[in-house]
Symmetry: C2
Subunit: 276 residues, 2 copies
């Protein structure tokens, strides 16, 4: 892992590393915030998955999470939203290809060669972080929009892997909304049975673990009714008797101003679960 | 004033307005954070001046100041760093022309027509804010790098106008460093006597008001020795018996990660002075 950024922040360090991912078969960037407590011992790790068009930079520059990570003694890892590079398949649209990996393992050409974000997030990256940083194996996962979808589906599909999961403005039912239908058809093909393991509302039907879900959603979010549809998550959790805290916030939109306003409560919530 | 952005943030609103400035003789953007307390009554206003290459966006997306403004009940106004537009003189360099106004009133062609940031900051903008928002006339001023220079010089040159002033990584002696020498020669001409009223260390010689200065500086700042030289501010304050709190922070660089780490303490300090 080559360190390409190193900046003091709230008494700790906001670093960015570049490494070759064998799962993605390309180089990728990963941001690691080490709070001041990392000098004294091993700490739990919160993984952050960003939304469409983002890189590892959006969260670390805009969310203001470092303040809370330093307060609670949590390492925060923010990753890119897809494989990238010249040899990696892409599409001119903002919602497919590079910057739009949807945190799944693609099975269709030309995507299958590199687009394996689910395995990267759930397996390769935690192993790398726990081997190279003062990290325990207590893991939390969160994200925004497409990244909220990633956090919910990856946590639900890997019982025992995470102590806590939360999401901001997640795509809760990608198999039923335009962003997800387009991406899943491209990455997974047209057989909708293969989509189920990448849809949080479907995964809740068979979830073996009752990991409580914390979800924040802005009521002025421009994608609320067409792409996000939090009521489908509420119905799925009610049906499955799965614990859900869904908070609807009047006035808030889909931007990082919303994430910044509530990331402190999410980090406190993850810290309690990961240290408990 | 036309509102062009309106985003809920920490219980208040991060807005951006566009208006025609008669001082700058062009349209300009100004960001206004209204904390939740603005619904109940008039509040003091902290003016933020950004550094080279910035617009009104950098501070509002990266500094995380809204959390503290909401905590302390302070309106925060962040402005652009120069006049802009097709009819406004410019230079291809990053440190002259648009994005590099240096918070002065230019006297030399082609700059004198629009580059009047000092009068815009000190006169036109506060009048506009106090007429259009629930603002008192208690004003504070702060900024980063070129904006730290702007905050210090404008406060020192306008006794009674501000209740508080602070700066992050300021250019404290522009007449003695490359950034300032280049800009002042272009904007003010080669007679160095005309530069004095735009140099904080020179203004301290004749300051009529003992407004305490709070200055934070990172020791790993890449511009520390060549452009910023905080020791010259310390010497000028000692010579003038002017109150200065200069804090040097090991490890911190020139980025917004540094500003974000300490902006909370600055806002608390301004709030105490503006409400006291």
């Amino acid at each position: 892992m080559e360190r390409i950024e190193h900046r003091a922040c709230f008494g700790g360090w906001q670093d960015v590393y570049r490494h070759h991912s064998s799962v993605l078969d390309c180089a990728t960037n990963v941001a690691v915030y080490l709070p001041p407590q990392a000098r004294q011992g091993r700490l739990p790790v919160l993984y952050w998955l960003s939304g469409l068009t983002c890189t590892e930079q959006n969260f670390i520059t805009k969310a203001g999470a470092q303040r809370y990570a330093a307060e609670h003694g949590v390492i925060v890892v923010a990753l890119d939203t897809s494989p990238r590079g010249e040899g990696v398949a892409d599409d001119p649209a903002y919602d497919l290809g590079q910057g739009a990996g949807f945190y799944l393992n693609a099975t269709e050409p030309p995507w299958a060669a590199h687009y394996r974000m689910r395995d990267y997030v759930a397996d390769e990256l935690p192993a790398l972080i726990e081997a190279n940083f003062p990290a325990t194996d207590a893991r939390g996962i969160s994200g925004h929009s497409m990244g909220g979808h990633g956090a919910l589906t990856i946590a639900l599909a890997h019982p025992g892997r995470y102590r806590s999961v939360s999401a901001f403005s997640p795509i809760v039912a990608p198999a039923q909304v335009p962003w997800g239908e387009k991406a899943f058809a491209a990455y997974l093909g047209h057989d909708r049975a293969a989509w189920r393991c990448h849809d949080a509302t479907e995964l809740l039907r068979t979830a073996r673990e009752r990991l409580p879900l914390l979800v924040d959603q802005g009521e002025a979010d421009e994608f609320l009714a067409t792409q996000l549809r939090p009521e489908l998550l509420r119905e799925a959790c009610t049906r499955a008797n799965h614990p859900l805290t869904l908070r609807l916030h009047p006035g808030y939109d889909h931007s990082y101003y919303f994430v910044a306003s509530f990331i402190g409560e999410h980090i406190a919530w993850h810290a309690r679960a990961m240290k408990g």
